[in-house]
Amino acid sequence: MHGLSFDIAHLLAGSLVLVSFMLLYQDRLYALLNIYALHALVLALAVASQAYVQDAPHLYITAAIALVFKAIVIPIALHRMIVKLGIHREIETVVGIGPTMLLGIGLVALSMVVILRVTTEADPLAREDLAFALSVVLLGLLMMVTRRNVVSQVVGFMSLENGLVLAATGAKGMPFVVEISVAFSILIAFIVIGIFLFRIRERFDTVDVHALDRFRGERL
């Protein structure tokens, strides 16, 4: 099993982490959505390769869901939303790009230290997958924390979920029902967030979450 199949899994999971960093780096909404689509595409490839290696046909369905919903439907829907909301301008980031990147590197290092310490007895493939998956999750959280625009927070949330799917496929014997329900709950969450987005926009004329803070009377 070692050798080429491990290398391919490593390549795809590593690329997923790299694309997460590209999401952090990107400061325009359209490009952000394109990179999110790339993120989902890499995830679909990683899941499909896991399905081949583990000889688990149900993972192909997970890969197909990732490809159709996350790489095609959600980016197009978000794209339309951006056009409707009329926000094609730059994203304001709370921290600059440089510090964010360094924080991200720190999070990747942290997740590797944690996972490699905790799972010393596990299968190398699963260890590697879990380490990368945790970094993708943490990077998604970092993106949600550092961005003020709601749409890019949604993208951060979706990329976080991609990390969860990667972890689920790396662990052998995860029931298929769990994966399906996670995928659909994310879809529901996406729809709810979409509706909220328009409500926020209607109410405050902006999708900058600081407007909400101001409305609550918090000091900035």
């Binding site: 070692h2 050798g3 080429l4 491990f6 290398d7 391919i8 490593h10 390549l11 590593g14 690329s15 982490v17 790299l18 960093f21 780096y25 790009i97 440089g98 990147m101 991200g104 590197i105 990747v108 290092a109 590797m112 490699l116 190398p124 260890r127 590697e128 380490a131 990368f132």
Partner: protein, 318 residues
């Protein structure tokens, strides 16, 4: 016998890099001109420029110190030594034991330090701007370069270039995402270090944003010839480095027969031509960045290098 052969290969390489460097620059300029549908200068124009400059008298500023006169020789010597240590057509070089990647970076770093001093020496405003920007770029490019070196050294188990090239040419490397990231980061660093287009424009003396040309504005005659030649050698060095680390196919192993050396030389010429063409294509298809966006560009290179090193810890060695 092997000693004599190694010495001959080393001497051939020293002369080869010196002879090829202006040709490579001429080739890149020619391809760029052709892509813009201009005719462009002939391929040998850089040689002519250097010979013409060598014949001309040196004009020195009144307040130029001895350092200003010594620096072109220092820069040229450091760059030439560095360029002749990078394996080009064969790895069996006489001095390959000293061809440590960190040593090469140190040689280039000292050359840059002296160039920045020369920019400050005469005390003109332009030289000062050029030096300050060069040092700003270098302070970001060098950490990125060191991270790339760490990645490669962790993969190959050595910082010696000939060992690395031999290891990467063998099939044991496999498929590694870290190496891909290191390659992209190295290309970004090479673009910044050689003052190519998204970072600096090598073809103008007139822009306020220029970096390299601003530092050498006060030089003339044989001093300028040496500095130009050193810049051309540096471009050749980076392309050879990328070629010998990431496309090492065809490179002759140590103690190779002359036919293998010949194959290596042909492969090297093809690699140089391909890289030169790609560089010209890249430069014509992209616009120059604002100076204050350069840190972001190099920060991305640094990030890639760091990430490549980190990802190695969860690779096959688990």
């Amino acid at each position: 016998m092997a000693l004599i052969l190694n010495l001959a290969v080393q001497a051939a390489q020293m002369l080869l890099v010196l002879a090829l460097a202006p040709l490579l620059t001429g080739f890149v300029r020619k391809v760029k001109a052709q892509l813009l549908r201009r005719q462009g200068p002939p391929l040998i124009q850089p040689y002519r420029d250097i010979i013409r400059l060598l014949r001309k008298d040196v004009v020195l500023a009144d307040n130029a110190s001895w350092l200003f006169r010594a620096i072109p020789y220092l820069i040229f010597a450091a760059t030439w030594v560095a360029a002749s240590l990078v394996p080009t057509f064969g790895t069996g070089l006489m001095f390959s034991w000293s061809a440590d990647l960190i040593a090469i970076i140190a040689l280039l770093g000292s050359a840059r330090f002296f160039l920045a001093l020369a920019g400050l020496d005469v005390g003109t405003a332009f030289g000062g701007i050029g030096s300050s920007r060069e040092v700003m770029i270098a302070s970001l490019a060098e950490p990125a370069m060191l991270m790339i070196v760490f990645t490669l050294a962790l993969v190959a188990g050595s910082t010696q270039l000939s060992t690395m090239a031999g290891f990467l040419a063998s099939g044991e490397v496999g498929l590694r995402v870290s190496l891909g990231m290191a390659m992209i980061a190295l290309i970004m660093v090479a673009i910044a270090e050689n003052a190519r287009i998204p970072v600096d424009n090598p073809a103008t003396h007139l822009e306020l944003t220029m970096v390299h040309e601003a530092m050498v504005l006060e030089y003339s005659g044989r001093h300028l010839a040496l500095i130009d030649l050193a810049a051309e050698l540096k471009l050749l060095l980076y392309i050879s480095l990328i070629a010998c680390l990431f496309v090492p196919w065809g490179i002759a192993p140590p103690d190779a027969p002359p036919t293998a050396l010949l194959v290596g030389a042909v492969a090297y010429a093809m690699k140089l031509a391909a890289c030169g063409f790609l560089l010209a294509l890249f430069e014509t298809s992209i616009a120059k960045m604002r100076v204050f966006r350069v840190p972001e560009f190099l920060g991305a290179a640094l990030m890639l290098g760091l990430l490549a090193t980190l990802l190695l810890f969860v690779s096959r060695s688990l």
